[in-house]
């Protein structure tokens, strides 16, 4: 046929499966020619004819492909069923690799990638760097026209009285636009609105429950509206419940209650001025970009408005240098589609690192699978050659092999998703600590399933394409003549390189595990200036029970007295900032030394206020001078104890004792005399480098602190837990209404190392899996090599070669592969080491000892994997081997 229509039709025939096209293509063309001849002539008729023919072809092509696919899939299942051992191991390897990768990806997704479950999350923005005062927020709201529905929020643990018991509960405080800006409608009752913003007390004494809280604490009772709750010092009325799945704007946190920011001044007596304090940085600010406005444009507007905002929000009465510093703050609009999260900031980096490690495992698993498939394909070479000889096209066989890979991938992906589901739950649990529960929704969702599926398809195509290419190059005549394809030496370097690569990647993982493990050990072994096995800490919150300053002062004195009187207690003390405080508090202030006014310094000075006996209780040595005594009270001269880091920085030559420190300006200015030097101890994290810390006697504070930490030193080492019931009872006897939370210092220390512990545990697990897989690969290659050379080995033995030399030869062959892998692995580990710097303390991430340990472990396991086939080679019976030939 001639003409455009015929040309198009012939071209479109290529859409059909090759086999079908070869069988019926010419005949179809003939039929179409005949139809064309008999069709009505004329332009319109011809056009209609060709449109009909082409649309028929376009419908037939997918049908034929599907039919072929169905046959190939059935064939693939038969093939797998015929070799159940191969099928099981391939699926297990795939499930392990994909499962681990998907589990970690689930975490990455939930923590970092997933958009907030709110309306149009891509238009949300937040202001960097979080920590704004309420006056700054109100000025922003007034002056920043380019961002809609600006709101401020803050999450805090507060005491909510459920069924008569005050329980520490995560509470979200928001300004009125919160629910409206996010587009969240209450499932029951109403959300919060601008009418709740009035800091008048009455209107703002309302609370919205989260769905989980509503179900757990109220059995999803719709009559919950109008009921009241005691929240610290206030009584709030429940006005609504948020829809399921909504957790606010901070992934990882799941606050149970949402209240207006305007309510906060009524919760604790100390917070009455909270909304007026211009320098208290406690709020996050978010908003929504108007439709059609880019973030860059809105940011430009923010940069213009920002200096005016600061100017307006900072009173003129603030001293000039402090004012200058406050006015020098910067901000920027950040994309807020996935919210803002402390949990994310804390864990995003370790989770990405984990993701990198798990990718290595996945690659190793793919390598193992590829090796399995290559080995199996050697066994199938004859089948392929026969089918080629019988006229099957190479394309057809390649397609068949790719389908088999795909079937395998799907079979592996199903258990992988189940594994990932369990694994991601375990991971979230590992990240949580008693004080900080990490709540992440890790149920497999569309994106995670797509990731697992995509990865499975990618892997399958990757590992099915190699045997497929081998088939495409098969020479059927040679195979059928008896040459063993694939066992020709030419084919072997491939599999060896693959195993070497697996060894290399395993070494990277094992090295990571060894470095993390050693770092963890070194941190745990570190003295940290604390006797952590002997101390119990109790967090007291009398302010939540509504106690005033003088009441608290009396309470603390009674608590100390009661604790010290307990049997099994060696000493007890109070402090404002708990030892190893994590995020539970730090106090920094500017200090002037030797009569200079307090100036801002690049290295911050941390403070704590403590009772007499603090250093003895915690086991921090006093290097010089004296401890505070009960005589260091409000009437006595103001004194301070500095730690060794301060002494080194401020008084490198002289003794700090008797020297003067200055805090505050003008009327609030205080001069302190240094009476003691304490050893360095961990202030916030166990792994930190020693900070400058100044201790003040708590009896010299203007007002007793709102909260305090009671530290109790057990008389016997290792037994702080055993005095806990007695301490709890003593606290209840003093005042049962004061909420108290007890934990051992050991537990605090352990929690200080969550990322490190999780990384170590997981790197170890992943390293073990990868090493196992690599060892299997090594075993497979050597075993195959020995089988292929049975005849040669038999001849050598018959010619008198000693068995020991054969054993050595095979071992050498295997260890050569291992050596190559180790060399490459060392290089990779070396160049990637900097990624782990943040999580390695006290040693280099390229620690030679850890690296050496990893190499030894890997070589030992590999040698074992080589030894088994080597022994088999040495045990070959020369007669049997030669007869076989």
């Amino acid at each position: 046929v001639k003409g455009l229509g015929a040309r198009i039709y012939r071209a479109l025939l290529r859409l059909l499966p090759a086999e079908f096209r070869d069988d019926f293509g010419p005949e179809m063309t003939l039929v179409v020619e005949e139809q064309r001849r008999d069709a009505p002539s004329g332009g319109a008729g011809r056009l209609r004819f060709w449109l009909g023919a082409v649309s028929d072809l376009l419908r037939a092509a997918p049908r034929e492909h599907a039919a072929l696919m169905k046959r190939d899939v059935a064939h693939a299942f038969r093939q797998l069923g015929a070799r159940p051992a191969f099928a099981a191991s391939a699926i297990a390897v795939l499930a392990l690799g994909l499962g681990a990768a998907t589990a970690v990806y689930t975490l990455v997704d939930a923590l970092v990638l997933r958009p907030l479950p709110v309306r149009e999350p891509e238009r949300l923005v937040w202001l960097d760097k979080p920590g704004f005062s309420y006056p700054i927020f109100t000025e922003l709201r007034r002056r920043l026209g380019t961002v809609e529905g600006l709101f401020a929020w803050s999450v805090d643990d507060r005491h909510v009285t459920w069924r008569d018991t005050p329980v520490r509960t995560s509470v979200l405080a928001v300004t009125g636009e919160f629910h409206r800006t996010l587009g969240v409608r209450a499932a029951v009752g109403r959300g919060l609105g601008p009418e709740d913003d009035r800091p008048g007390g009455e209107g703002s004494a309302v609370a919205v429950l989260s769905d989980a809280c509503w179900r757990r604490r109220f059995d999803a009772d719709p009559g919950v509206l109008g009921r009241t709750l005691r929240l610290d010092q206030a009584v709030v009325t429940i006005v609504g419940v948020t829809p399921p799945g909504f957790f606010g704007v901070a992934p990882g946190l799941d606050p149970e209650i949402t209240v207006p920011v305007a309510l906060l001044p009524y919760l604790k007596p100390e917070d009455t001025q909270l909304l007026q304090r211009h320098a208290q940085a406690w709020l996050h600010v978010m908003g929504r970009l108007p439709r059609g406005v880019r973030r860059e444009q809105a940011d430009a507007a923010l940069q213009v408005a920002w200096p005016q905002v600061l100017e307006a929000a900072t009173p003129q009465s603030v001293p000039a240098d402090r004012r200058a510093r406050l006015l020098s703050r910067r901000t920027a609009l950040m994309p807020g589609g996935s919210g803002f999260s402390r949990v994310r900031n804390q864990f995003a980096q370790p989770v990405w690192l984990l993701f990198a490690l798990v990718t290595l495992v996945l690659i190793v698993a793919c390598g193992t699978l590829l090796n399995l498939l290559l080995a199996r394909n050697l066994g199938r070479a004859r089948e392929m050659a026969i089918r080629l000889a019988l006229g099957a096209s190479r394309g057809r066989l390649v397609r068949q092999l790719l389908t088999e890979g795909l079937v395998l991938a799907v079979l592996g992906a199903v258990p992988a998703v189940a594994l990932a589901w369990g694994g991601s739950h375990v991971l979230t649990a590992l990240l949580s600590t008693s004080a900080d529960r990490v709540v992440l929704d890790v149920t497999p969702q569309g994106r995670v399933l797509a990731f697992a599926g995509g990865l499975a398809v990618l892997c399958s195509l990757l590992f099915a394409s190699v045997p497929a290419l081998a088939v495409a190059r098969t020479d059927p005549e040679r195979v059928l003549r008896g040459a063993r394809p694939g066992l020709t030496p030419r084919r072997w370097p491939w599999r060896r390189a693959l195993v070497a690569a697996q060894v290399a990647l395993s070494l990277v993982l094992v090295t990571a595990a060894a470095v993390f493990g050693r770092s963890l050990r070194s941190v745990l072994a570190r003295d940290a200036g604390l006797d952590r096995h002997r101390v119990l800490v109790a967090h007291l919150d009398p302010a939540a029970a509504g106690q005033s300053g003088p009441q608290r002062s009396a309470l603390y004195a009674r608590v100390l007295e009661a604790a010290r009187a307990l049997p099994g207690v060696e000493s007890a003390s109070l402090a404002l900032v708990p030892p190893v405080s994590h995020d539970e508090g730090s106090w920094t202030q500017n200090v002037g030394v030797n009569g200079e006014p307090p100036l801002h310094e690049a290295v911050p000075t941390y403070f704590n206020t403590v009772s007499p006996g603090h250093f003895r209780t915690l086991g921090t040595p006093l290097a010089a001078g004296r401890d505070f005594t009960p005589a260091d009270d409000a009437r006595a001269a103001r004194v301070a104890i500095v730690n060794a880091a301060c002494a080194r920085a401020w008084f490198p030559a002289a003794s700090p004792l008797g020297q003067r420190l200055t805090m505050g300006h003008d009327r609030s200015r205080q001069d302190l005399i240094i009476v003691g030097v304490a050893g360095d101890s961990a202030y916030q994290w166990l792994q930190e480098t020693p900070r400058r810390v100044v201790y003040l006697p708590y009896l010299q504070l203007d007002e007793a602190p709102q909260t305090a930490v009671l530290s109790v030193r057990a008389a016997a080492p290792g037994s702080p837990g055993t005095v806990a019931p007695a301490v709890r009872a003593a606290l209840a006897a003093v005042d049962p209404r004061v909420p108290a939370r007890l934990e051992t210092l050991d537990a605090r220390v352990a929690e200080s190392l969550v990322s490190e512990r999780v990384l170590t545990a997981l790197a170890l697990t992943l390293g073990a899996i990868a090493t196992l897989l690599a060892a299997c690969g090594l075993y497979g290659v050597l075993s195959g090599s020995v089988t292929a050379r049975t005849t040669e080995i038999g001849i050598r033995l018959a010619l008198g070669a000693p068995r020991r030399r054969l054993l050595g030869a095979v071992l050498k062959e295997g260890l050569a592969v291992v050596a190559g892998g180790v060399a490459v692995g060392l290089g990779v580990a070396w160049s990637l080491a900097h990624l782990a710097t943040r999580f390695v303390h006290g040693l280099s991430p390229r620690d030679p000892l850890a690296t050496a340990a990893a190499v030894v472990a890997l070589v030992a396991v590999s040698a074992l994997a080589c030894y088994v086939p080597a022994r088999r080679a040495a045990a070959v019976d020369p007669l049997a081997a030669l007869r076989h030939e």
Binding site: L16, F20, D23, F24, P26, E27, M28, T29, L30, V31, V32, E34, Q35, G52, A53, S55, D56, L57, R59, A60, A61, R63, E64, A67
Partner: protein
Amino acid sequence: MPTPRADAERFLPLTPAAFHVLVSLVPSEQHGYAVLKAVEERSDGRVRLGAGTLYGLIKRLLEDGLIVEVVPRSAARLDDPRRRYYRVTALGRAVVVAETERLEQAAARARSAMGLPRPEPAS
């Protein structure tokens, strides 16, 4: 060993297109284009097959053993080297018979259900 009849039942019900193609191959062996025209005539122009659909059907009927290609072709028909001829097998004939009976039964049940008179036997 299944009876031919039971064997034929496996293929029921046929799609209308497959039924028409099989029926048109019953009287004598035919080539593709002839089948197309026969199907169109037999169905009063209601079933019009395109070449792609036709050869998809032929491929499946061949695989199922309901039709076979006629080789060698008789000399008189050596018109175009691309042309191939097909005829029904014994199994294919049994399937046509079984499908015809099935359709008749279905039609009869529908008639009695709706109280329609039995049709005049076809002349």
